[in-house]
Amino acid sequence: MTNGQTRRTALGAMAAGAGMAGVGLMAMTDQTTAQAQTGGKTFVLVHGAWHGGWCWRRVSDLLEKQGHKVFAPTMTGLGERSHLIGGKIDLATHVTDIVNVIKWEGLNDIVLVGHSYGGVVISGVAEQMREAIGSIVFLDAFLPANGDSLAVKASQPVREAIAGLVEKGETAMKPVPAAVFRVNEKDRAWVDAMCTPHPVATFTDKATVTGARDRIAKKAYIRAKGYPSACRSTASTTGSRPTAHGASTSCPAATTPWSTCPTGSRRFCSRWRSDQNAPTHKDRYRHTLWVPGLAEFTRGPRAARTRGLARTRDCATPSPKSPSPSRSSPSARTADRCSARTRRR
């Protein structure tokens, strides 16, 4: 068996006369063995609006190389499934797309990652499949409260575009250019070529969030600081490495961008706090200060502590050891801590 053979991609069309169960990509590597040896995790990566499973390719390859199992399904009507677009696709369709992958693949203890609009989807998935989810990661994503929708919570231009489409009775929204998402210049043409119209009903449907998401053991929020978003946090950029919104494509070497928890994120947190179902904010979400890679993060708090990775803190409650605000700005403090960890690593 040569290297060339092991790297070759095998595409399997499986159907036993009993339903096109799905098309599986089977990389011919010793993944199973690798996974058994490293105690690999199972990742379910959920893309954002207009994107598809394709946007995770670099991240999936890196995770698989480390022995993890990755599912990056494309939701109905998008990407390689764009020929299935139609008026009937709503938020429930997309939630079911992901729920069914978990069910049919018999997955448990998964790391569920949602990017952008995918945050609305994984919040819905958590309502149905909480027991199967070990950790949940919001990657520059919407974090809806009960009843939220993108038609209400998206940035103003997107909100206006959605309203215009609804008025005209249009069922799909054309992709927003990659430049708007601050995708790095080299990848913009590729991202624009891959993006496809997105079903409008998934933007207008209201999310059902009853608290299942908050009961998941490990929760993280990652902010891509090179992408301003008025509706989400407007984190300070001082001392941080800019990474655009299309984080899954923009920063392959680091896998994911780092995220800080300065002033803007606090505003975001106070919005979470307004959720009446939550006991206290402290019990809920913490922001990840710096995440060099999802895989590292999900090795667990102990591993993260010993490696100096993936430190988290409650963003609304300053750590007792934090320098006083008079000494430096919040963002500068964050940057200092991040660089200190980099050195320790």
């Binding site: 595409l11 036993a16 339903g19 096109m20």
Partner: protein
């Protein structure tokens, strides 16, 4: 599940994976019914495929329909279902597919779902792209009786451009019954 699903839908399902994942030098493996969308897809993305493996699969000729391969009883049931406007028909049992272990049968039965009717009544359009692929392999699962696959195996044995294998200890779902054997063969022929 929808009445709108036809063979073209499943062909596009495959073709688009090649396009959106930008795949080249692919080993395309098709199982059973997958021989229909697989043959159709090769008409569009044959240049991205370096080897094909037909795994206990249909090997249709131009103009054929899945319906043509069904037994008389199945055809009557099928037409009745279509007349009633039913979008699909239930899956055969794992036992009928001769899945070997009882435990696997229960698992397979819990996962299989109705097959859309529309895919079996649309004639396939083929111009020979499948036969142009450089490396071609047919695998027959010996423990599953199916005359169409016996015939396909015989045709491939008679054609020097195809390699053939028989999974002697496997029912129709070779990936379930004999995964390691299958992986070894796939690595050998791709």
């Amino acid at each position: 599940m929808s009445k709108d699903i036809n063979l073209d839908t499943h062909i596009t399902d495959l073709v688009n994976v090649f396009k959106w994942e930008d795949l080249k030098d692919v080993c395309l493996v098709v199982h059973s019914y997958g021989g229909w969308p697989g043959s159709g897809a090769l008409e569009q993305i044959g240049d991205r495929v370096s080897s094909i493996v037909w795994l206990d699969a249909f090997k249709p000729e131009n103009g054929q329909r899945g319906f043509d391969f069904a037994s008389e009883i199945s055809r009557k049931r099928f037409l009745a279902a279509v007349e009633k406007g039913e979008p699909g028909r239930p899956a055969p049992t794992a036992e009928a597919f001769r899945v070997i272990s009882e435990k696997d049968r229960a698992w397979v039965d819990s996962k299989t779902t109705p097959q859309p009717n529309g895919v079996a009544i649309q004639p396939i359009k083929l111009t020979g792209a499948r036969e142009k692929v450089a490396k071609k392999t047919y695998i027959r699962a010996a423990k599953y009786p199916q005359p169409a696959f016996d015939q396909a195996l015989a045709e491939c044995k008679a054609d020097k451009s195809w390699r053939t294998f028989e999974a002697t200890e496997s029912g129709h779902d070779v990936m379930v019954d004999a995964p390691q054997w299958l992986v070894d063969v796939l690595l050998q022929v791709s």
